[in-house]
């Protein structure tokens, strides 16, 4: 399932060709609205980075849902007889891989555009992975919840953004602490991110099969 989604992305390159430029563009637009010459950009860079990631991930999740909408693939998945939990894990894994690739490019762009010195790399990596699992899990669950709706594109952001508020908060704080050279302060936030990711991964694993059938 994961391999299939990734292969589709490799062929169609929707996320890489459209979502990624969108993300970089948002980073540049932030600099327009905030005085780029003052010291403000480096200071708030973690927050800007994670807002950009969250907005981009909404698009990536939307793509992950759209893949199943073409030619009745959703019915095909139901008919295939695969376990709902396995389908969920496959889709989340594919979204996580895509988002991590996206974040890698965006973080390099952030560091370069906002001139930031990299510090506490291991904290950054672990925080990013935990946060991404949380975003991908909630996004995938809400994606299938809303997949039957004609208003899916507008509904998914309304559902995902509030529930991911703790992720945005935790990831931003963890990045701030790590970049300021205070990795010790970042760990509680990383733990929060990990707990969030684990919780919603479990919820999705249990609920996904039922949601595919009845939602």
């Amino acid at each position: 399932m994961c391999a299939k989604d990734l292969r589709i992305e490799l062929r169609a390159r929707v996320v890489m060709a459209q979502v990624l430029p969108f993300g970089v563009l948002v980073l540049i637009l932030f600099a327009f609205t905030l005085d780029p010459n003052s010291a403000i950009l480096p200071r708030i860079a973690p927050g800007l980075f994670w807002i950009t990631v969250l907005l981009s991930s909404i698009l990536a999740v939307g793509r992950s849902i759209a893949v199943e909408a073409e030619h009745g693939a959703r019915d095909a998945l139901r008919l295939s007889g695969m376990d709902g939990g396995a389908i969920f894990l496959g889709k989340v894994a594919a979204v996580v891989v895509q988002l991590l690739a996206l974040e890698l490019v965006l973080i390099v762009a952030t560091f370069m555009l906002y001139s930031i010195d990299v510090r506490g790399l291991e904290v950054l990596v672990i925080a990013a992975i935990s946060a991404t699992i949380g975003i991908a899990s909630t996004g995938t669950v809400y994606g299938v919840l809303a997949s039957g709706a004609k208003v899916r594109e507008t509904l998914v952001p309304l559902l995902v953004l509030p529930i991911c508020a703790p992720v945005l908060l935790g990831a931003t704080k963890a990045f701030e602490s790590a970049l300021a050279g205070r990795s010790g302060e970042a760990w509680p936030w990383v733990q929060l991110l990990g707990a969030f990711g684990a919780l919603y991964l479990t919820v999705g694993f249990i609920a996904y099969g039922t949601l595919m059938e009845e939602a």
Partner: protein
Amino acid sequence: MSKQASGRAQTVNAGRPWLGLTAFAGVSATFVMGLVVAPKDEQQRDAYRLLYMHVPAAWLAYLAFTVTAIASALYLVPRTRHLRWDYLAGASGELGVMFTALMLAGGSLWGKPVWGQWWAWEARLTTTAILLFLYLGYLALRRIGGSPQQRATRSAIAGLIAFIDVPIVHFSVSWWATLHQEGSVFNDKMQLHIRDGVMQFTLLLAVASFTLLYVWMCMRRMELLALDEGLAERELQLAIDERSNRPATTNPVTV
């Protein structure tokens, strides 16, 4: 609506008109007590009177969302699966959003004279704002169509997902807020001491009567949802009967 359906609505409701009446009487009394009878606060003057609406709204918002979560869980457990739990979850969710909005509106109306600003990035206020959007999403999800069973299952799972997010949001936001206590708007003025007997009584009355109002509105909303469903059900049954009883061609043979 058919005559039969509206007749049933009256009989169902006729059993307890006292509940609605008591709630309205209580809320009216709260307004009189809170706005006229209760004395001014020494520091906050008249602004504190918003408390008589704010405290019940906050309590009921959390109560309503808890009820939504419990009803959602009850629907998901096969042994207790019944659409009435879905009606309860929906009705309570709507009221929860209403009380949350009331809490936010009251909070910022109170914040202007007391804090000097409409909004403060304070933990409870921020959590409440996130909560409002979390459940606005839940209500939007309830309206996207499908059969009652589909809607019920979908909403029940969404209700639980939103509910388990509430403590995480609260925890992370308060943690975040304690890190940012530079130039805090908090001061002694905020400490409100309700020692006066009349004030205490008014607050108690407010909480009690708004809770009654919640129970009554919740029950009425459930009835309405059940009637809607009953109506749709009856139309559907008519359509089924019509289809199966009117063969287009000859010789019906059971295969």
